[in-house]
Amino acid sequence: MKKTTQQEGRVTASEGELQVELYVNKVRREGDAADGKSMSPVCTVTFPLAAPEAGLLARLVNHLGSHPLELAELLQGGQPAGAAALLPAEPPWAHAPGADGACSCGSASCAHVAAAAELAAAEWTASPPLRWAALGLAPQRLQGAVFAAWASDAPAGASELPAAAARRGEAGSRAERQGPGLAEWLAEAAEQDRLHVPGPQFHDVKVILTSGEEQAEPAADAQAWAELLPGIPGAAAGVRRIEARLMERTREQARRLAATQQSSSS
C-alpha cells in the first residue's frame, strides 16, 4: 500500500544533485502576503546523483534514433513509453533511504532526510520528467546526440547545400532590407501563389483562451509608475484596477466565444 505523503515538498534535480525542499504543513499564518503560497520551506535535503550507467545514453540514443516520433514527443514535453521503459527502475541516488543525504538544517540524522528520501522516491515514480532530469538526460541533450548520430551516417560532403540555397546569400538579405526589395518580394510571393498564405510558424503558435483557474493579477510595477508620474500617486493602483476589470471583461468574451464554437461544432 502506498503511504500517503503527509509531508509536502518539492523535488528537483540539477547539476548532479537531487534537491528536496520540505515544507511545513499547510497553516495559513496571519499577515502572510497574499501571494498564493501558504507554505514556506523548512529545510532542503540534497542527495548526490550517480551518473547514469554508461550504456544507458547509447541505448537511449539508439532507441530514439530509430523511433523519431518518440523523440518528437519527448521534445514536446511528453513521455514516450518506449524510451521510458529503458530507464532504470531505481532512482540514481543512494539505494538505502537516508544514506548520504544532507539536510540544510545541519543536524545529523534529522528526520528530514528520511522524509525527503520517501518524498523523492514517490516523486521518482510519479513524475517522469524528474526521472529524465535526475538521470541527466535533458531532452536537448538527447536530441543533440540523436541528430549527431544521424549526421554521422551521412557520406562525406552530403551536407552541402545545393547551389540554389547558398546563392543570393548576403546580397539577398541586404536586398530584402531595402525598400524596392519589398515590391519584388511581393511579386515573387504573388507568382508563387502564396500572397495570402501564412508562414509555417503560424501553425506553431498556440493561443490558450480557456484558463482553468482565475489568473493571478499581474502586479503593476508600483515603483516604475511612481517614478514616471510623481504627481499622480494612485497611478499604479489605477492601472491594476484597469487590468483587473479588463481581465474580467475578456474572460466573459472568451467564455461566449467558446460557447459559440461548441454549439457550431456540435
Binding site: 530509430s66 523511433h67 523519431p68 516520433l69 518528437a72 514527443e73 521534445l75 543533440g144 541528430f147 544521424w150 549526421a151 551521412a154 552530403a158 551536407s159 547545400l161 543570393r168 546569400g169 548576403e170 539577398g172 538579405s173 541586404r174 530584402e176 532590407r177 531595402q178 525598400g179 526589395g181 519589398l182 515590391a183 518580394w185 511581393l186 504573388a190 508563387q192 502564396r194 501564412p198 508562414g199 509555417p200 510558424q201 503560424f202 501553425h203 503558435v205 498556440k206 493561443v207 490558450i208 483562451l209 516604475a224 508620474l229 504627481g231 499622480i232 497611478a235 489605477g238 484596477r241 484597469i242 487590468e243 476589470r245 479588463l246 481581465m247 475578456t250 468574451q253 459559440t260 457550431s264
Partner: protein, 1034 residues
C-alpha cells in the same frame, strides 16, 4: 457566384476588399457584403465605411497571362473596399470561421485565418492582463507641422516581456502572409525597413489597436472609479507625462500630445520602461532569422518497370523541407539530417534547430496522417512507401487535413506545372450550303438559324475515345495513369461529360448561340454546363466567323438590268450582300466614303426586284442623290419618293407602295409617319447613313426599329471600328436580339478601363460576320479605283433660294425676247451668274441680308455633311468656289461650325501669306480645310495633302475645272482623290451638268473654252435650261 474577401491591416482600420478593379463589380461586392449576416449574430459590414487604399496588387491578367512588367515588382494600385474599425472587426475576427463564409458563396483569402489567430492572441494577452501603456505617433495639424512639432497619442498595447509571449509574437510576425505588407506607406525612412521589421510593426500595430479599444471600453466602464487617479494637467506646469496619462484614461476621446521633437523623444523614452515597446528586428549585421521550414511531402508515382499491373506498383511519399521565403526551394530531408550542426545559413537567413524543426513538423503531420507516421519508424525519416490502395486513402483523407495544417503536398502533376486537366467537349459544326439556305422554310430566321454539330469528349485538348472516357469516369482517385503519364483529373467533371455524351453526341444550336459561345471567355464558354474546349467550324460558317467570307462566295452574275459597270470590289460587295440575304442575315455595309455603297445596294435591289416593295430610309439631304442614282443605274425600278407636303397618306399611300418597286423616304418622316410605314409590307428595308439611329432613345430610331421586313441592309461610311459601342441600335435593327438587351450591352461594352479593351475585341468578333468594310487604302481596293473618283452630290434649294431663283428666271425670260446682240449676251450672262449665285447662297444675290447661316443654302448644308465625314476620317479637303464672297461666307460658317477657321486663298492674298498658308497646310499644321477662290493659275501650288476636292460651284468649262482639281492631283499625291461636285437639283446647274456629260464624249471644242457657248443658245433652249424643276423638296 463566388466573391473574394481579402483583409489587411492598414494601421488604423481593417480593410476588406474584393481584389476587383472594375467599379461595377466592386459595387456589387460591397452591396452583398453589407447584407452578410454571420452566425454570431451581426452584420459586420453593414455600417462599414467605403475606403480607397493604395496597395501593391496584381493587375487583372488578360486571359490568364501575367503582365510582363510585374515580374519586377508589384506596383501600387488604388483599390476600393470596406474599412472596419476595431469595434467592427473584433467580433468578426474572433468568431471567424472559414467554412461559414464559403457556405455563403464567399471565398476568403487564407490571410483571414491569420488575422483571426492574431486577434485571438490579443485576446489571450488581455485575459492575462499582459498589457502595457505606450504611445504611437499622431498627425500634427497642418499649421503646426512646419514648426518641427511632433505629436503622440497615448495607447494601450501588448506587453511582450514574457519570453513565451515575445517568442509567439515573433513567430506570428514572421508568419504574416505577404499580403499583410501590401499597403503602400508614405512615411519617412520607409525604404530602409527590412521585411522582418515591417512584419513586426504591422502586427504590433494590429494588436495595439484592438487592445487599446478594449481597454478604453474598460476605462469607460470604470468611470468614476478612476476619478481619484486622474491627474489635472496644467499646460506649462505639469509634465508631459501627465498629459499622456490623461490620454490613457480619456476613453474614446482621442487626446493628442504635441511637443517639440526633443520633448516627444524624452516622453517616449520615459514611458518605454513600462514594457510597451515594439520588439526590435534583427540588425543589419546579423542574418535575419529564418521562419522555420514548411513541411513538403511529394507523392511519387511508381516505376512502371516494377510490376505489370498498375495496381500492384508501390508509390512513394518523399519528405522535403520547404523554405517559406521561396517556395521553389526544396531541401530533401536527408540534407537536413546530414547537417553536422543545428544551424544552417540559407539564402542569407539563419535557420536554427533545423533538425528539431523538421522533426516536430513531421510529428504533427504524423498525428493526422498514418502514411507519414509510417515513415517515422526508422531513423532519418525521408521516405515512405504506399500501396496503391493506400494512395487513394492518402489523397482523399490525409491530404486535405495536411494542407489545412500548413503542409504542402505535391502531386506528380505539379512537377510538369500542368495541374489538373480539364475535361470538356469540342463542338464540330456541320456546314451550311448557301444554295440550300433561302429555299425551304420561310420566314428566314437569320441568326436564329439552326446549326447542327457533333460533340466529342476531350481532355486537355486531346480527344477521348469512348473506352478512355469510361475508364476515367470509373477512377476512384483524382490521380490516374492516362496514355502513359500520371495526371490529375476532376472525376466529377469527367462523369458529367460521360453522362451527357451517352445521350447526345449530336445537337444543334442557333447561329447566335454559336457566335456567343465561340467568343466567350474560358470560364464562361459552357454548353449545357459542360466546359467547351473549342468550336470547329467549316465551310461557310467558318468563313462567316473568321471573316474570310469574301473569298468563299459563290460567284453571282451581276444583273443585266444594271445600267453601268461595277468595279471588281463592288461586285464582291454585291455578292456578299446577296449571300447575307440568302442566309437571312441583316448586313452592314460600311465601306469607306467614295467606294460606291449606293451602287452596290442598287445592284442587290435589281437582282431580286420581284420580291415585294423595298423601303429606303436616308437623310433628307441625300434624297436627291438616291433618286439620281436609281434613275441612272436602275431606271426600270419604279420609284415613289415619300416626302414633302404633298406626300401620300392612307389608302393612296398603300396603293403607291404596292405599285412601286422602291419607296424612298427620310428618317425624319420615318418618325412622323411611323404608323403608316409600319403597316405596309416591305420586302426589304435599307438604311442609308445608319448612324442616324445609333441613339436608341430617339423617336427616329424607335420608329425604324418597329419596321419589319425579312431582309435588312444598313449602310454607313463612318469608321465603325472606332464606334463599336454605338452599334447596338444598328444591330438590333439588322439582327434583333443578337447583341442582347440594350442595358446589358451598355454594361458590358461601355464600362471603360482595362477590361474594356478585351471586351471590345470580343464584340468585334461577334459582329464581324455581318460587317463588310473596305478602305480606300486597301491595296486590293486601290487598284480598282480610278485615281480620281467623281461624286456628284445633289442638293436642294431652300424655299428662299427657290423664290429668288424664280424671280430671276422670270425676269430673264420676260426681257430676253426684246434684247439682241451684245445686250442679249450680257443679259444672259448676268442672269446666269445671278442664278448661280442664288444656288450658292441667297446673300450673294441679295446683299441686304448678309447673315450667312447655313440654313439658307442647300449646298452649304450638304457641304457640312461632307466635311463632317472627311474630318472624321482624318482627311483634308479643298473647296473651290468662283465667288470670293462665297468663300468669305464659308470661312465664317466653317469657323463657327468647327471652331477653327479654314485657310482661304483668293486673288487678293499676298504672296507671302499665300506661301505660308500652303506650307502650313501641306505640313499638316492648322486646319484641314482649304478654300480657294481662284480663277486660274496659281502656278506652283502644291496642295497634295488634301485628297478631297469639292467644287462648291462649277465652271462650265471642264478644262478649267480639271485644272483646279489637278492642283491636288499631282505627283506626290499618294491617295485616291475624291472630287465632289455640288449640284442644285432642278436648276440650271443640273441641266448644264447633263449637257456637259453628254458632250464630253464628243469633243471639248463643242463646249468651248469659255462660257460663251451658253450665250449662243436660243431662247427656247435657254428656257428649258433654266426653268426650275422642283421635286417639292421643301
Amino acid at each position: 457566384m463566388n466573391q473574394h474577401l481579402y483583409g489587411i491591416w492598414l494601421g488604423d482600420v481593417f480593410f476588406c476588399f474584393s481584389g476587383e478593379a472594375s467599379e461595377s463589380k466592386v459595387d456589387a461586392w460591397t452591396a452583398s457584403l453589407r447584407r452578410l449576416e454571420l452566425a454570431y449574430g451581426a452584420r459586420p459590414f453593414q455600417q462599414a465605411a467605403l475606403r480607397l487604399a493604395e496597395l501593391r496588387w496584381t493587375a487583372p491578367a488578360l486571359r490568364g497571362v501575367p503582365r510582363r512588367n510585374e515580374r519586377k515588382g508589384l506596383l501600387g494600385r488604388t483599390l476600393e473596399g470596406l474599412a472596419l474599425t476595431a469595434e467592427e472587426a473584433w467580433p468578426l475576427l474572433l468568431n471567424y470561421e472559414e467554412s461559414e463564409l464559403t457556405a455563403k458563396g464567399i471565398t476568403p483569402g487564407a490571410e483571414m485565418n491569420y488575422w483571426s489567430g492574431a486577434a485571438k492572441f490579443a485576446l489571450e494577452l488581455m485575459l492575462r492582463g499582459a498589457i502595457a501603456p505606450s504611445a504611437r505617433p499622431a498627425a500634427v495639424p497642418g499649421a503646426r507641422r512646419r514648426s518641427g512639432q511632433l505629436a503622440l497619442r497615448a495607447v494601450w498595447g501588448p506587453r511582450l516581456d514574457n519570453i513565451h509571449d515575445e517568442e509567439r509574437f515573433r513567430q506570428l510576425a514572421s508568419a504574416m502572409p505577404p499580403i499583410g505588407l501590401a499597403p503602400v506607406q508614405h512615411i519617412a525612412m520607409e525604404d530602409e525597413l527590412s521585411v522582418e521589421a515591417r512584419q513586426l510593426g504591422v502586427l504590433h500595430s494590429f494588436l495595439t489597436a484592438f487592445i487599446d479599444h478594449e481597454v478604453r471600453k474598460t476605462t469607460k466602464e470604470l468611470g468614476k472609479e478612476l476619478n481619484s487617479v486622474k491627474g489635472r494637467y496644467r499646460r506649462g506646469v505639469s509634465p508631459l507625462t501627465e498629459l499622456w496619462w490623461e490620454g490613457l484614461l480619456s476613453g474614446d476621446r482621442p487626446l493628442d500630445i504635441q511637443g517639440t521633437s526633443a520633448e516627444i523623444e524624452e516622453l517616449t523614452g520615459e514611458i518605454s520602461v513600462l514594457g510597451g515597446e515594439l520588439p526590435s528586428a534583427s540588425s543589419e549585421d546579423e542574418p535575419a532569422p529564418g521562419a522555420g521550414f514548411r513541411l513538403c511531402l511529394r507523392l511519387e508515382p511508381p516505376d512502371e518497370s516494377e510490376a505489370e499491373e498498375p495496381s500492384a506498383r508501390t508509390w512513394g511519399l518523399s519528405i522535403w523541407a520547404e523554405v517559406p521565403e521561396d517556395a521553389s526551394l526544396l531541401l530533401p530531408a536527408a540534407l537536413i539530417w546530414n547537417q553536422p550542426n543545428q544551424e544552417m545559413l540559407i539564402r542569407g537567413r539563419k535557420y536554427s534547430g533545423v533538425q528539431e524543426n523538421l522533426l516536430l513538423r513531421l510529428a504533427k503531420a504524423a498525428e493526422v496522417s498514418p502514411e507519414v507516421a509510417a515513415a517515422m519508424n526508422s531513423p532519418r525519416p525521408e521516405f515512405a512507401k504506399l500501396r496503391p490502395e493506400e494512395v487513394y486513402s492518402f489523397l482523399s483523407r490525409s491530404v486535405p487535413v495536411l494542407r489545412r495544417h500548413g503542409v504542402t503536398v505535391q502531386m506528380p502533376v505539379r512537377w510538369t506545372k500542368e495541374g489538373k486537366r480539364r475535361a470538356g467537349v469540342r463542338i464540330k459544326t456541320s456546314s451550311w450550303d448557301p444554295a440550300q439556305a433561302g429555299k425551304g422554310e420561310k420566314p428566314k430566321l437569320g441568326v436564329e438559324q439552326v446549326v447542327h454539330f457533333e460533340m466529342e469528349a476531350v481532355l486537355s485538348g486531346q480527344k477521348l475515345t469512348q473506352e478512355e472516357l469510361a475508364e476515367l469516369a470509373a477512377a476512384r482517385a483524382p490521380l490516374v495513369l492516362f496514355r502513359g503519364e500520371w495526371i490529375e483529373i476532376d472525376v466529377k467533371e469527367i462523369r458529367q461529360v460521360l453522362r451527357y455524351m451517352k445521350k447526345h453526341e449530336q445537337g444543334s444550336m442557333t447561329f447566335k448561340e454559336l457566335m456567343h459561345l465561340t467568343n466567350d471567355t474560358l470560364e464562361e464558354g459552357r454548353y449545357e454546363g459542360l466546359y467547351v474546349e473549342g468550336v470547329e467550324t467549316t465551310g461557310l460558317i467558318a468563313a462567316l466567323m473568321e471573316g474570310g467570307i469574301l473569298k468563299n462566295l459563290r460567284p453571282l452574275p451581276v444583273p443585266v438590268s444594271l445600267q453601268g459597270t461595277l468595279r471588281p470590289y463592288q461586285e464582291r460587295g454585291y455578292q456578299w450582300l446577296s449571300t447575307m440575304k440568302a442566309l437571312g442575315f441583316g448586313a452592314l455595309l460600311a465601306d469607306d466614303m467614295g467606294l460606291g455603297k449606293t451602287v452596290q445596294v442598287i445592284t442587290t435591289l435589281l437582282s431580286d426586284h420581284t420580291e415585294g416593295t423595298r423601303l429606303i430610309v436616308c437623310p433628307t439631304s441625300l434624297l436627291g442623290n438616291w433618286q439620281k442614282e436609281l434613275s441612272r443605274f436602275a431606271p426600270e425600278l419604279r420609284l415613289y419618293i415619300h416626302h414633302g407636303t404633298n406626300r401620300l397618306h392612307g389608302e393612296p399611300f398603300m396603293r403607291a407602295c404596292q405599285e412601286h418597286d422602291i419607296v424612298l423616304t427620310t428618317y425624319h418622316l420615318a418618325g412622323r409617319d411611323a404608323k403608316e410605314l409600319k403597316e405596309a409590307q416591305w420586302g426589304s428595308i435599307i438604311l442609308d447613313e445608319a448612324q442616324y439611329i445609333k441613339n436608341y432613345s430617339t423617336k427616329q430610331a424607335q420608329s425604324v426599329m418597329k419596321l419589319s421586313a425579312p431582309h435588312r441592309i444598313a449602310m454607313t461610311g463612318t469608321p465603325v471600328e472606332n464606334r463599336l459601342s454605338e452599334l447596338w441600335s444598328i444591330f438590333q435593327f439588322l439582327n434583333p436580339g443578337y447583341l442582347g438587351t440594350y442595358a446589358s450591352f451598355r454594361k458590358q461594352y461601355t464600362g471603360g478601363g482595362e477590361e474594356q479593351a478585351a471586351e471590345l475585341l470580343r464584340l468585334r468578333k461577334l459582329v464581324a460576320p455581318f460587317l463588310l468594310r473596305r478602305l480606300k487604302s486597301d491595296p486590293d481596293i486601290r487598284k480598282d479605283l480610278p485615281e480620281k473618283i467623281e461624286i456628284k452630290s445633289y442638293c436642294s434649294l431652300t424655299v428662299e433660294q427657290a423664290r429668288l431663283y424664280r424671280v430671276v428666271t422670270d425676269d430673264l425670260m420676260s426681257r430676253i425676247q426684246e434684247s439682241t446682240g451684245i445686250a442679249r449676251k450680257g443679259l444672259v450672262l448676268s442672269s446666269l451668274t445671278r442664278l448661280k449665285q442664288i444656288c450658292d447662297h441667297p446673300s450673294l444675290f441679295d446683299a441686304s441680308k448678309r447673315e450667312g447661316t447655313a440654313g439658307r443654302s442647300g449646298k452649304t448644308e450638304r457641304l457640312l455633311e461632307l466635311l463632317d465625314m472627311i474630318r472624321e476620317n482624318g482627311e483634308a479637303a479643298l473647296i473651290f468656289t468662283q465667288y470670293v464672297q462665297m468663300g468669305e461666307l464659308l470661312v465664317k460658317q466653317l469657323a463657327e461650325h468647327y471652331n477653327t477657321a479654314p485657310f482661304f486663298l483668293h486673288g487678293g492674298v499676298a504672296k507671302n501669306d499665300r506661301d505660308r498658308m500652303v506650307n502650313l497646310f501641306q505640313e499638316g499644321k492648322g486646319p484641314s480645310i482649304f478654300i480657294l477662290s481662284l480663277k486660274a493659275g496659281g502656278v506652283g501650288l502644291n496642295l497634295t495633302r488634301a485628297n478631297h476636292v469639292i467644287h462648291f460651284d462649277r465652271w462650265w468649262n471642264p478644262a478649267v475645272e480639271n485644272q483646279a482639281t489637278d492642283r491636288v492631283f499631282r505627283i506626290g499625291q499618294e491617295k485616291n482623290v475624291e472630287v465632289h461636285k455640288l449640284i442644285c437639283q432642278g436648276t440650271l446647274e443640273e441641266r448644264i451638268d447633263e449637257l456637259i456629260e453628254r458632250k464630253k464624249s464628243l469633243s471639248e471644242q463643242v463646249v468651248g473654252s469659255g462660257e460663251q457657248w451658253l450665250t449662243e443658245m436660243s431662247s427656247e433652249e435657254l428656257q428649258s435650261l433654266i426653268t426650275l424643276q422642283t421635286g417639292d423638296w421643301s
